[in-house]
């Protein structure tokens, strides 16, 4: 596989997605609003719990909760995708057909679109994160090695979540009523990727489930790493697990994709 043609393709894709997303600034802001508010709500809930119980719960101090949810807000936005919600109309309205005719896998334009969105929203998200960290007195003192390891783990988490969610989105090829499938997945992500509470606050069976399944490795792991909750050994094992899941995910994606395209029969256009 040669990479050089992909560089040109991605450069062109970024130019297109940047131009189109700059046209929909308000829309991007509105989606960002939800991405900020949800972790903020849980930040406040857990800070309140911690304060009611003498300033610490389950090994997390009030400031540690603030740090956890501020970092979670960033990691969640940086790994989030919305392909599952777009695929339904793509298939139902037949707008997917022209993408299939191109001599390149349609996943690449989605990756470019997603990365552009993250790049643009970060200009608002990062200042908001800093502001919230100050307002809620977040105590964030990770060791340097953890910060260094955070970068590859975030990158792996992004790729893993993208591959998994793109695969789940392919369910549309079999049924256009994917609302229930999407929501089942959304609940699993909500609970098992640590968005509701740090995973260590859940009962052991839930923690085991989150560790066996890919969810923990999509969000909670980079967050724990950046907040200094992990040992170097845990960090290494985690990154390897991420890589293994990513490899499995890519294989699964390819298998399901081949099935799906064979089933595809376009309507209209």
């Amino acid at each position: 596989m040669r990479f050089s043609p992909y560089l040109g393709i991605y450069r062109a894709q970024f130019a297109v997605t940047l131009a189109s997303q700059l046209q929909y600034r308000v829309e991007a802001l509105i989606w960002l609003f939800g991405a900020i508010l949800q972790p903020l709500i849980y930040l406040i809930v857990w800070s309140t719990v911690s304060q009611t119980n003498g300033g610490s719960v389950g090994g997390y101090s009030t400031g540690a909760f603030a740090a956890y949810f501020v970092v979670l807000m960033l990691v969640n936005q940086w790994t989030d995708t919305w392909v599952m919600y777009e695929f339904e109309s793509r298939i139902r309205e037949g707008t997917f057909s022209p993408k299939l005719l191109r001599p390149i896998h349609p996943i690449h334009s989605d990756v470019a679109d997603n990365v552009t969105h993250k790049f643009l929203t970060s200009f608002i998200l990062i200042p908001v994160a800093v502001l919230l960290a100050v307002i809620f007195h977040a105590t964030l003192r990770p060791p340097l090695w953890a910060l260094a390891a955070f970068v590859p783990s975030l990158f792996l988490a992004f790729l893993l979540r993208f591959v998994v969610e793109w695969t789940v989105a392919l369910a549309c090829f079999w049924t256009t009523r994917v609302g229930a499938v999407n929501q089942m997945y959304a609940v699993a992500v909500m609970v098992l990727s640590g968005q509701m509470a740090p995973l260590s606050l859940f009962p052991p069976p839930v923690q085991t489930l989150a560790t066996i399944l890919p969810f923990r490795w999509m969000v909670a792991f980079p967050v724990d790493l950046a907040t200094g909750a992990l040992s170097p050994h845990d960090a290494l094992v985690g990154c390897v697990t991420q890589a293994v899941w990513l490899a499995l995910g890519v294989v699964l994606l390819n298998v399901v994709w081949r099935w799906a395209v064979r089933r595809y029969s376009a309507v209209g256009v």
Binding site: G34, I44, V45, V49, N53, R177, Q183, M196, A197
Partner: protein, 261 residues
């Protein structure tokens, strides 16, 4: 009286429409159950680590979650789809057909679209509320019950007026659909008692997006921690907002130029 009959006719029509798509009921049932499950898991994990949250015990918060689903579901059954339809009608000019009908236009646009299966949320919410009430036991007297019904009615009126005002903006700015997304995000904050939020967020949730009046205040009435001032305030705000939204609607409708295809 004739208005009530009109409401009933619209509701029946919408229901008949939806009954043609029965499979959607199962999809909605799964989605609502998942939504409820998420809320309950959230409560469970929080109360595994604390006895009270902002002074609320777990059964009291369970009642709050029930109200969250009842109110949210009711909005989704008729108000929100109708408002969405109104924005669309303004954009396409099809509001003409509604305006020519010999009935009050505000009433017509408010009940035009019915999404029957969203009632599942309401039913689940009532179930949760019932369980919470049984657990709360003898704490609910006649005064609490009256306060609850009154607070709930006021909350509904306040949120309805608020959504109508937002939607009426579409007479000036055509693309306001996304405002409803912001409302939804803020509404989810109402799943927890607004008392736990810092002042700036609490004030936003009370007066900018009046989620507090729709969920926290009725729940407070039910568990007997509502003071008379807040209740009277809710009544006053409900009446004021109903009047303001009515006034704003008549101004907006005057601006509507129609499509005259």
């Amino acid at each position: 009286m004739s208005n009530l009959r009109l409401l009933w006719v619209f509701f029946r029509l919408g229901a008949l429409n939806e009954l043609a798509y029965r499979a959607n009921f199962f999809v909605q049932f799964i989605q609502s159950s998942l939504g409820l499950a998420t809320a309950l898991i959230g409560l469970a994990v929080v109360f595994a680590h604390t006895a009270t949250l902002g002074g609320w015990r777990s059964t009291e918060l369970l009642a709050l979650v029930g109200i969250y689903f009842v109110v949210g579901g009711s909005l989704n059954v008729v108000i929100k789809p109708s408002m969405q339809q109104l924005m669309e009608d303004v954009r396409l000019g099809t509001l003409d057909f509604t305006l020519t009908k010999p009935a009050d236009a505000q009433l017509l646009v408010s009940v035009k679209q019915v999404e029957l299966w969203e009632l599942v949320d309401v039913v689940l919410g009532i179930g949760v509320l019932a369980v919470a009430l049984v657990q709360l036991g003898a704490g609910i007297g006649i005064a609490e019950a009256i306060g609850f019904v009154l607070a709930l009615a006021c909350g509904a009126a306040i949120v309805y007026s608020f959504l109508l005002i937002l939607t009426t903006l579409s007479f000036w700015v055509v693309r306001v659909t996304n405002i409803l997304v912001v409302f939804q995000a803020m509404y989810e904050a109402g799943r927890w008692p607004v008392g736990i939020y810092p002042t700036w967020l609490r004030l936003s949730l009370t007066f900018i997006v009046p989620v507090a009046f729709a969920i926290t205040v009725p729940a407070e009435a039910l568990v007997g921690r509502l003071d008379l001032t807040t209740l009277l305030g809710a009544v006053g705000l409900a009446l004021a907002l109903l009047a303001v939204s009515r006034w704003f609607w008549t101004i907006g409708i005057r601006r509507y130029s129609g499509a005259s295809a």
